[in-house]
Every structure is written in structure tokens, then in C-alpha cells.
């Protein structure tokens, strides 16, 4: 009974604080939006793109701060602008896409660092880079809720087309459905989602939020709809565990959220029925044993 009480208190005590409730809201909402998108990122192979967009928004965030605009405005401009720039340089030069991505996002990030050094107050740098979910403002909360809601609504409306694009863009084209447009939509959604998640975990760790849940779910199912659900569940659970654990341990919230996601991935990687390494190892052993039992004549 005491143990049960202790577990209950582990959750109830932090919930007494307003800042914890707000952190929880932001982390879960941002986590779920990222998780849903991460399913397509995993399947299309856009992990590096997520990394690029998240770093490239830094100058936008700083400029918004300087101009007194909502942080999302500048972040969106620079996020989408970088994606467009990557596409343009990629199409018009012989440099391969991964190199173009590397050039554009590091340059943008560097521009952000230079801009920050001109900003009188240095305190926000840490928050932008590493997140500050325990101290978010009301405006920030509203921005996150509106943007995440918009992302989820568009995804709900267009998810079949996005999956068609991820699976067979040539077939989409052959049916008169423009894959370029769907690619642009997916990149746009990625930019918005990255901006949403910045609030929860900061620029450095955003990329984890748009990769790990989808990759984890991919190890656990062969059905796309289930993948979306599992991915969202992994992200929501990680957000809750991360926020509460960081309260009790007094450590970085964003760090703990991502660590929890990584733990979920590790578990799936090892023990997923069908796709986990332990499972595959066992099946392989069983086949070997059976082959050995049957004797060499069958080989």
C-alpha cells in the first residue's frame, strides 16, 4: 500500500505545480505531432532533413526575438527557406544532397550563433538550444497548440496521399497525383513540427523527436496505421516519464524525454516480436538446430 502511495505521489506532487502541468501539456502535444510525422520521415529516409531543418531555424528564432515577433514566424521562414534552398542547390549543382544539406544547415546555424552574440541578453541561447519546457510563456503555449493542431489536421486529411508518396512516388505521378506537391507538403509539415518541438526539447534534440518514435514503431509493426498509433504512444509516454522524472531528479527535461524515447527504441530493437535482434537470433538458432537434427543430408 505504501509503495502504491509512493508511486501515486510521484505523479501527484509535481502535478501540484503549474509549471509542471504546462510542461506536460507542451511535451505531450509536441511529442505526438513529431511522432506522427516521424513515421513518414523513417520510411522516406529523411532523418538528416529533420536535423537540417531544426538547426536552420535558429537565425529565424533569434530574429523573431529581436523584432518582437512570435518565435514561430521567423522559425517557419528559415525552416521552409532552408528546405527550398537545399532543393535548389541540389537541383542546380553536381554536389550530392547530403553534402548540400550539410552546407546549408551548418551555415544557417552559424548565422544564428552570430546573431545571438549580438543580442544583449545571453540567457535565451541555452533555452533555444536545449529547450526550456519548465518556463514556457503563455504565447509559446498557444503557438505550440495551434501549430500542432494544424499539423495533425493536415496529416489526418492527407495521410493516405503522404503514404502513397512515401511508398511509390512514380505510381502517384502515373495516376496524375503530383508527388512534388506531396513532397513539399511533407517538408512543410516537417518545418512546422520542428518549430513546435523546439519548445519542448530545444534545437539540438528536436531531430530525435522526429526520428525515434517512428523508428521504434517501425520495429514493432508491419501496418502503417498501427505504426502511427504506436509512435504517438511512445512519444506521449516518453513525454510524461521525462517531465516527471526530470522534476524528481532535477535534471534536463528535454534530455530525459529523448532518453526515454531512446530506451523505448532499444527495447524494440532488442525484443520486438519479428523484427528484434533477440527474436531473430532465436529464430535463426531454431532453424540451425532443426537443420542439425535433420542431419547433413538435407543441406
Amino acid at each position: 500500500m505504501d509503495a502504491l502511495m509512493a508511486v501515486a505521489e510521484w505523479f501527484t506532487v509535481p502535478m501540484g505545480f503549474d509549471f509542471v502541468r504546462r510542461a506536460l501539456l507542451i511535451s505531450v502535444v509536441a511529442g505526438v505531432a513529431c511522432a506522427v510525422l516521424s513515421c513518414w520521415m523513417t520510411l522516406v529516409g529523411w532523418s538528416l532533413m529533420g536535423d537540417a531543418v531544426s538547426h536552420a531555424v535558429l537565425p529565424g528564432v533569434v530574429l523573431s526575438y529581436l523584432l518582437g515577433l512570435p518565435f514561430a514566424a521567423g522559425a517557419l521562414v528559415f525552416g521552409a527557406g532552408s528546405v527550398a534552398l537545399i532543393g535548389a542547390v541540389n537541383r542546380t549543382s553536381r554536389v550530392k544532397e547530403d553534402a548540400v544539406i550539410g552546407v546549408v544547415f551548418t551555415a544557417m546555424f552559424a548565422l544564428g550563433l552570430v546573431l545571438i552574440s549580438r543580442v544583449p541578453s545571453q540567457t535565451d541561447l541555452g533555452h533555444i538550444l536545449f529547450g526550456n519546457v519548465l518556463g514556457v510563456s503563455d504565447t509559446a503555449i498557444w503557438q505550440v497548440l495551434i501549430l500542432a493542431g494544424a499539423v495533425l489536421a493536415v496529416v489526418w486529411y492527407k495521410h493516405r496521399d503522404l503514404t502513397l508518396y512515401a511508398f511509390d512516388p512514380v505510381h502517384a505521378h502515373a495516376m496524375g497525383i503530383n508527388p512534388r506537391l506531396l513532397e513539399t507538403l511533407l517538408l512543410g509539415l516537417l518545418s512546422v513540427t520542428v518549430v513546435v518541438a523546439l519548445q519542448a526539447v530545444g534545437i539540438i534534440l528536436v531531430v530525435a523527436m522526429v526520428i525515434i518514435p517512428g523508428a521504434t514503431a517501425y520495429l514493432l509493426t508491419d501496418r502503417f496505421e498501427r505504426m502511427l498509433v504506436i509512435s504517438a504512444a511512445v512519444a506521449a509516454t516518453s513525454a510524461v516519464v521525462g517531465v516527471f522524472a526530470s522534476f524528481h531528479l532535477n535534471v534536463s527535461t528535454g534530455g530525459l524525454i529523448v532518453l526515454t524515447q531512446a530506451a523505448a527504441f532499444t527495447l524494440a530493437y532488442l525484443a520486438s516480436p519479428g523484427h528484434g535482434v533477440l527474436w531473430r537470433g532465436r529464430t535463426a538458432r531454431r532453424i540451425r538446430t532443426r537443420a542439425a537434427d535433420a542431419g547433413p543430408s538435407t543441406v
Binding site: 520510411l43 486529411y157 492527407k158 493516405r160 496521399d161 503514404t163 502513397l164 512515401a166 511508398f167 511509390d168 512514380v170 505510381h171 502517384a172 505521378h173 502515373a174 495516376m175 496524375g176 497525383i177 517501425y218 509493426t221 508491419d222 501496418r223 502503417f224 498501427r226 505504426m227
Partner: protein
């Protein structure tokens, strides 16, 4: 009556590389045309040209008298990709893949209506995949995978089918099954453009054959196109007998 596939004077360049050199090709409705050529002969580029995926320097493509864009919008062109171009680990079931063929007929959200489900069930039955409909696409054998994509084109209601190497990585029994299925589709009036390395299959399946080497080297009766003299002339292959010429 307009040709099912009409490519006129199509030239395609990738940078400085000439991939197709003034290719003209006309396939009448209800015919199966085999597309033959070595690797790098431009077979894939010709497919992409018919699909409208690569810009041509000049030249035009018409499908059953329509422009490429109109034909695509109306779902007239079905496409069966090469195995290497498909992510077989993708989390979709066989029935999901076949349902994607219906997307052009659906509303913006691509929600399946009873007519769509019926078309999918019909396409799966015709390709003998009904029992495997709930399998993940990669859990099928080589021949079943090909049939799943043919089922997608059937569900789409495509009039013209482009099949890229449908016999690659397929055993003899499946090969016969696919051939039978394609001949059935032809009997129903579909037009098929089939690229293949499998020359033995060409006289069995095709009404006509095209030998491509950036240009159209020969177009006509399969036996005629596959004559060792034609092939040797085309590729400068030195051979002492019929056998060697049969592997491109």
C-alpha cells in the same frame, strides 16, 4: 483509331548524356509490345518518357489519343515497377497496395467507397492473391509481388500497362502464371509495354518487339527482331551459333 502508345521523335538527355535519340514508337491498342535492350539502352528512360517523368528535348507522347497529362489524370496508365525500385519492408499490406491504384478515382482524402473495395477484391481474385490480401507486401514470393502490382493496375482500371522487367527474379512456374495473366489482359483489350531481359519469353508473350539502343534498332514481329542476324547487327555480337545471341 489512335495508337495506345504513341511516342514521336523523343530525345532525352541527362546532362551531356544522350539517353534517347529521336525515338518514335507506336503500339496499337490490344497489343503486347516487348521492349528489348541491354542495360543502359534507354529502356527505363523510355518508360519514364511514356510516364511523363523526364522532359524530352522535343517530341511528344500520346496515350490513346490523349496527352500524357490527361491520360495520367484519367488513370489510363498503369505502372508495374522493377523489383529494385520497391521498398519491400514498407509497412503496407497487399490489399493496401492494390487500393492505392484506386486513389485517382477517390476524393481528396482517398477514402475507399464500396465500389473501390469491390474493384480491389476483383483485382486480387484475378491475380489469385485473395488469400494473401492481409500479408505485408514483402512477405510475398517474387512472382506474387509482381502479381500484386499488376493487381494494382487492374484495380486502377488502366488501359495501358507499363511493366518493367516483370520476369526478373521469378521462378518458371510464376513466370508462366504471369504470362497467362498478361495474355488475358490483352484479350480484354489492354495494351502492354513490357521490358524484359528474358528473351525466351518474348515470342510466347509478345505480339511485337522493339529493340532499343538509344535509338529504335528494330520494331516488328518478335521472331524477326530476335533473329540472331538482327541482334548481331544491332550489338555487333560475334557468335558462332544461335545460343550466345540469346542472352543480351
Amino acid at each position: 483509331m489512335s495508337a495506345a502508345i504513341e511516342v514521336t521523335d523523343a530525345t532525352v538527355r541527362y546532362g551531356d548524356v544522350l539517353a534517347l535519340d529521336a525515338v518514335s514508337l507506336s503500339v496499337a491498342p490490344g497489343r503486347i509490345c516487348g521492349l528489348l535492350g541491354t542495360n543502359g539502352s534507354g529502356k527505363s528512360t523510355l518508360f519514364k518518357t511514356v510516364l511523363g517523368l523526364v522532359p524530352t528535348d522535343h517530341g511528344s507522347v500520346r496515350i490513346l489519343g490523349h496527352t500524357g497529362a490527361t491520360a495520367r489524370r484519367r488513370g489510363m496508365i498503369g505502372y508495374v515497377p522493377q523489383s529494385e525500385q520497391v521498398d519491400w519492408a514498407f509497412p503496407v499490406r497487399v490489399c493496401d497496395v492494390v487500393m492505392m491504384g484506386r486513389y485517382g478515382h477517390m476524393g481528396r482524402r482517398r477514402r475507399a467507397r464500396p465500389a473501390d473495395r469491390e474493384a480491389v477484391a476483383h483485382a486480387l481474385a484475378r491475380t489469385h492473391l485473395s488469400d494473401l490480401a492481409d500479408r505485408q507486401i514483402g512477405a510475398l514470393s517474387g512472382g506474387q509481388r509482381k502479381r500484386a502490382f499488376i493487381a494494382r493496375a487492374i484495380a486502377q482500371g488502366a488501359d495501358v500497362l507499363l511493366l518493367d522487367e516483370p520476369f526478373a527474379g521469378v521462378d518458371k512456374r510464376s513466370e508462366a502464371r504471369i504470362t497467362e495473366l498478361l495474355l488475358q489482359l490483352r484479350r480484354e483489350g489492354h495494351t502492354l509495354l513490357v521490358s524484359t531481359h528474358d528473351l525466351a519469353q518474348v515470342p510466347v508473350l509478345c505480339d511485337e518487339a522493339v529493340l532499343l539502343q538509344r535509338r529504335v534498332l528494330a520494331h516488328g514481329d518478335p521472331e524477326e527482331v530476335l533473329r540472331p542476324e538482327t541482334l548481331m547487327e544491332a550489338f555487333g555480337i560475334h557468335t558462332d551459333g544461335r545460343g550466345a545471341a540469346w542472352t543480351l
